[in-house]
Amino acid sequence: MNNTLIEAELPTELAAQAQAFVAAGWATDFNDLLAEALRRFLESHEASVTESFIKDDIEWGLHGRD
Protein backbone atom coordinates (compact mmCIF):
# COMPACT_ATOMS: atom_id res chain seq x y z
CA MET A 1 0.00 0.00 0.00
CA ASN A 2 1.31 3.45 -0.90
CA ASN A 3 1.34 5.97 1.89
CA THR A 4 1.15 9.74 1.76
CA LEU A 5 2.66 11.93 4.43
CA ILE A 6 0.25 14.60 5.65
CA GLU A 7 0.52 17.29 8.27
CA ALA A 8 -2.59 18.07 10.27
CA GLU A 9 -3.56 20.05 13.34
CA LEU A 10 -5.83 18.32 15.84
CA PRO A 11 -7.57 19.69 18.91
CA THR A 12 -5.23 19.00 21.86
CA GLU A 13 -7.83 17.06 23.83
CA LEU A 14 -8.72 14.88 20.85
CA ALA A 15 -5.07 14.13 20.11
CA ALA A 16 -4.50 13.20 23.76
CA GLN A 17 -7.49 10.84 23.70
CA ALA A 18 -6.20 9.21 20.52
CA GLN A 19 -2.70 8.81 21.95
CA ALA A 20 -4.13 7.25 25.12
CA PHE A 21 -6.18 4.88 22.95
CA VAL A 22 -3.02 3.79 21.12
CA ALA A 23 -1.02 3.53 24.35
CA ALA A 24 -3.70 1.24 25.78
CA GLY A 25 -3.11 -1.11 22.86
CA TRP A 26 -6.40 -0.56 21.00
CA ALA A 27 -4.61 0.46 17.80
CA THR A 28 -1.22 -0.44 16.32
CA ASP A 29 -0.08 3.15 16.19
CA PHE A 30 -1.36 6.70 15.71
CA ASN A 31 -1.16 6.46 11.91
CA ASP A 32 -3.34 3.34 11.85
CA LEU A 33 -5.84 4.96 14.17
CA LEU A 34 -6.10 8.06 11.97
CA ALA A 35 -6.46 5.99 8.80
CA GLU A 36 -9.20 3.85 10.37
CA ALA A 37 -11.05 6.92 11.67
CA LEU A 38 -10.90 8.56 8.23
CA ARG A 39 -12.02 5.37 6.48
CA ARG A 40 -15.03 5.00 8.80
CA PHE A 41 -15.99 8.64 8.39
CA LEU A 42 -15.82 8.48 4.60
CA GLU A 43 -17.81 5.22 4.52
CA SER A 44 -20.59 6.71 6.62
CA HIS A 45 -20.65 10.03 4.74
CA GLU A 46 -20.76 8.75 1.19
CA ALA A 47 -21.45 11.65 -1.16
CA SER A 48 -24.40 10.01 -2.90
CA VAL A 49 -26.13 9.41 0.44
CA THR A 50 -25.55 13.01 1.52
CA GLU A 51 -26.95 14.23 -1.81
CA SER A 52 -30.06 12.11 -1.41
CA PHE A 53 -30.66 13.69 2.01
CA ILE A 54 -30.23 17.18 0.53
CA LYS A 55 -32.84 16.30 -2.09
CA ASP A 56 -35.18 15.15 0.68
CA ASP A 57 -34.64 18.51 2.36
CA ILE A 58 -35.47 20.39 -0.84
CA GLU A 59 -38.66 18.39 -1.33
CA TRP A 60 -39.81 18.77 2.27
CA GLY A 61 -38.67 22.35 2.59
CA LEU A 62 -40.41 23.59 -0.53
CA HIS A 63 -43.33 21.22 -0.87
CA GLY A 64 -43.91 19.52 2.51
CA ARG A 65 -47.07 20.03 4.52
CA ASP A 66 -45.88 20.56 8.06
Partner: protein, 172 residues
Protein backbone atom coordinates in the same frame (compact mmCIF):
# COMPACT_ATOMS: atom_id res chain seq x y z
CA UNK B 1 -45.33 10.82 11.43
CA UNK B 2 -46.98 11.22 8.07
CA UNK B 3 -46.00 14.43 6.29
CA UNK B 4 -49.70 14.91 5.42
CA UNK B 5 -50.14 16.26 8.96
CA UNK B 6 -49.96 20.01 8.51
CA UNK B 7 -49.11 20.92 12.10
CA UNK B 8 -45.46 21.77 12.71
CA UNK B 9 -43.98 18.87 14.65
CA UNK B 10 -42.04 18.87 17.90
CA UNK B 11 -38.37 18.97 16.97
CA UNK B 12 -35.22 17.55 18.51
CA UNK B 13 -32.09 19.44 17.50
CA UNK B 14 -28.59 18.19 16.93
CA UNK B 15 -25.81 20.80 17.24
CA UNK B 16 -25.27 21.31 13.49
CA UNK B 17 -28.58 23.01 12.59
CA UNK B 18 -28.48 25.18 15.73
CA UNK B 19 -25.02 26.43 14.84
CA UNK B 20 -25.56 26.74 11.08
CA UNK B 21 -28.90 28.55 11.39
CA UNK B 22 -27.38 30.99 13.87
CA UNK B 23 -24.39 31.61 11.59
CA UNK B 24 -26.70 32.81 8.83
CA UNK B 25 -29.01 34.77 11.14
CA UNK B 26 -31.90 32.33 10.80
CA UNK B 27 -32.22 30.72 14.22
CA UNK B 28 -35.61 32.40 14.56
CA UNK B 29 -36.98 29.95 11.96
CA UNK B 30 -37.11 27.34 14.73
CA UNK B 31 -39.69 29.45 16.56
CA UNK B 32 -42.25 28.05 14.09
CA UNK B 33 -42.12 24.70 15.88
CA UNK B 34 -44.15 24.16 19.06
CA UNK B 35 -41.21 22.76 21.06
CA UNK B 36 -37.49 22.65 20.30
CA UNK B 37 -35.77 20.03 22.42
CA UNK B 38 -31.99 20.17 22.80
CA UNK B 39 -30.44 17.05 24.37
CA UNK B 40 -27.89 17.74 27.13
CA UNK B 41 -24.90 16.53 25.12
CA UNK B 42 -25.94 18.72 22.17
CA UNK B 43 -26.32 21.65 24.56
CA UNK B 44 -22.72 21.13 25.72
CA UNK B 45 -21.51 20.98 22.09
CA UNK B 46 -23.27 24.25 21.36
CA UNK B 47 -21.73 25.76 24.50
CA UNK B 48 -18.28 24.78 23.24
CA UNK B 49 -18.67 25.82 19.60
CA UNK B 50 -21.27 28.62 19.52
CA UNK B 51 -22.43 29.66 23.00
CA UNK B 52 -24.41 32.60 21.60
CA UNK B 53 -27.01 30.07 20.37
CA UNK B 54 -27.97 29.30 23.95
CA UNK B 55 -28.39 32.88 25.20
CA UNK B 56 -30.46 34.37 22.37
CA UNK B 57 -34.12 35.29 22.74
CA UNK B 58 -35.54 34.52 19.28
CA UNK B 59 -36.41 30.91 20.04
CA UNK B 60 -36.94 28.99 23.25
CA UNK B 61 -34.71 25.94 23.45
CA UNK B 62 -35.64 23.32 26.01
CA UNK B 63 -32.66 21.39 27.34
CA UNK B 64 -33.30 17.84 28.42
CA UNK B 65 -31.35 14.70 29.12
CA UNK B 66 -32.60 11.22 28.57
CA UNK B 67 -32.53 8.98 31.61
CA UNK B 68 -33.82 5.85 29.92
CA UNK B 69 -31.54 3.05 28.75
CA UNK B 70 -30.23 3.29 25.18
CA UNK B 71 -32.43 1.06 22.95
CA UNK B 72 -30.34 -1.84 21.57
CA UNK B 73 -31.10 -0.89 17.94
CA UNK B 74 -29.76 2.61 18.55
CA UNK B 75 -26.68 1.30 20.36
CA UNK B 76 -25.91 -0.96 17.40
CA UNK B 77 -26.46 1.85 14.91
CA UNK B 78 -24.22 4.18 16.90
CA UNK B 79 -21.39 1.64 16.75
CA UNK B 80 -21.86 0.87 13.07
CA UNK B 81 -21.93 4.52 12.04
CA UNK B 82 -19.47 5.86 14.62
CA UNK B 83 -22.01 8.36 15.88
CA UNK B 84 -20.88 11.08 18.28
CA UNK B 85 -22.41 11.37 21.73
CA UNK B 86 -24.55 14.36 20.71
CA UNK B 87 -25.92 12.64 17.63
CA UNK B 88 -26.71 9.51 19.61
CA UNK B 89 -28.50 11.45 22.34
CA UNK B 90 -30.49 13.41 19.76
CA UNK B 91 -31.63 10.15 18.17
CA UNK B 92 -32.48 8.74 21.59
CA UNK B 93 -34.57 11.77 22.54
CA UNK B 94 -36.29 11.69 19.14
CA UNK B 95 -37.19 8.03 19.69
CA UNK B 96 -38.59 8.88 23.12
CA UNK B 97 -40.70 11.70 21.65
CA UNK B 98 -42.01 9.87 18.61
CA UNK B 99 -43.24 11.34 16.23
CA UNK B 100 -40.65 14.08 16.69
CA UNK B 101 -38.72 15.55 13.78
CA UNK B 102 -34.96 15.29 14.20
CA UNK B 103 -32.89 18.16 12.85
CA UNK B 104 -29.35 17.12 11.98
CA UNK B 105 -26.83 17.91 9.26
CA UNK B 106 -24.80 14.79 9.83
CA UNK B 107 -25.16 12.15 7.14
CA UNK B 108 -24.44 9.25 9.49
CA UNK B 109 -27.03 10.50 11.98
CA UNK B 110 -29.57 10.80 9.17
CA UNK B 111 -28.79 7.28 8.03
CA UNK B 112 -29.34 6.07 11.58
CA UNK B 113 -32.59 8.04 11.79
CA UNK B 114 -33.83 6.46 8.58
CA UNK B 115 -33.11 3.01 9.97
CA UNK B 116 -34.85 3.83 13.23
CA UNK B 117 -37.89 5.27 11.39
CA UNK B 118 -37.28 8.75 12.74
CA UNK B 119 -38.09 11.65 10.40
CA UNK B 120 -35.04 13.82 9.92
CA UNK B 121 -34.15 16.95 8.00
CA UNK B 122 -31.29 19.41 8.01
CA UNK B 123 -30.48 23.10 7.92
CA UNK B 124 -31.27 23.39 4.21
CA UNK B 125 -34.72 21.93 4.76
CA UNK B 126 -35.45 24.44 7.51
CA UNK B 127 -34.20 27.31 5.35
CA UNK B 128 -36.31 26.32 2.34
CA UNK B 129 -39.31 25.67 4.56
CA UNK B 130 -39.12 29.31 5.63
CA UNK B 131 -40.37 30.35 2.17
CA UNK B 132 -43.28 27.92 2.31
CA UNK B 133 -44.19 29.00 5.83
CA UNK B 134 -43.93 32.70 5.01
CA UNK B 135 -41.08 33.29 7.46
CA UNK B 136 -38.84 34.70 4.70
CA UNK B 137 -39.53 35.96 1.20
CA UNK B 138 -38.12 33.93 -1.67
CA UNK B 139 -35.59 36.66 -2.44
CA UNK B 140 -34.46 36.96 1.17
CA UNK B 141 -33.96 33.24 1.44
CA UNK B 142 -32.09 32.94 -1.85
CA UNK B 143 -29.71 35.61 -0.57
CA UNK B 144 -29.16 33.54 2.59
CA UNK B 145 -28.39 30.49 0.42
CA UNK B 146 -25.92 32.47 -1.70
CA UNK B 147 -24.11 33.66 1.43
CA UNK B 148 -24.06 30.20 3.00
CA UNK B 149 -20.48 29.23 1.97
CA UNK B 150 -19.10 32.51 3.34
CA UNK B 151 -21.11 32.78 6.54
CA UNK B 152 -21.66 29.18 7.59
CA UNK B 153 -19.57 26.18 8.54
CA UNK B 154 -22.12 23.91 6.84
CA UNK B 155 -20.12 22.05 4.22
CA UNK B 156 -21.94 21.62 0.95
CA UNK B 157 -20.76 20.87 -2.56
CA UNK B 158 -21.04 24.05 -4.66
CA UNK B 159 -22.96 22.36 -7.49
CA UNK B 160 -25.46 20.98 -5.01
CA UNK B 161 -25.99 24.39 -3.45
CA UNK B 162 -26.55 25.79 -6.95
CA UNK B 163 -29.24 23.12 -7.47
CA UNK B 164 -30.91 24.16 -4.21
CA UNK B 165 -30.87 27.83 -5.26
CA UNK B 166 -32.32 26.95 -8.68
CA UNK B 167 -35.14 25.00 -7.01
CA UNK B 168 -35.93 27.99 -4.82
CA UNK B 169 -35.82 30.37 -7.78
CA UNK B 170 -38.40 28.23 -9.61
CA UNK B 171 -41.00 28.96 -6.95
CA UNK B 172 -43.73 31.36 -8.04
Amino acid sequence: MEETDQRPPLVVCDAGPLIHLDEVGCLDLLADFPVVLVPGEVWREAQRHRPSVLVQSVVTLRQLTSTRPVPPALAAMARLLSLHAGEMEALRVALEHDPALLLTDDTAARLAARNLLIRAHGTLGILLRAIRRGQRSKDELIEVLRELPKKSTLHLKRSLLDDVIREAERLP
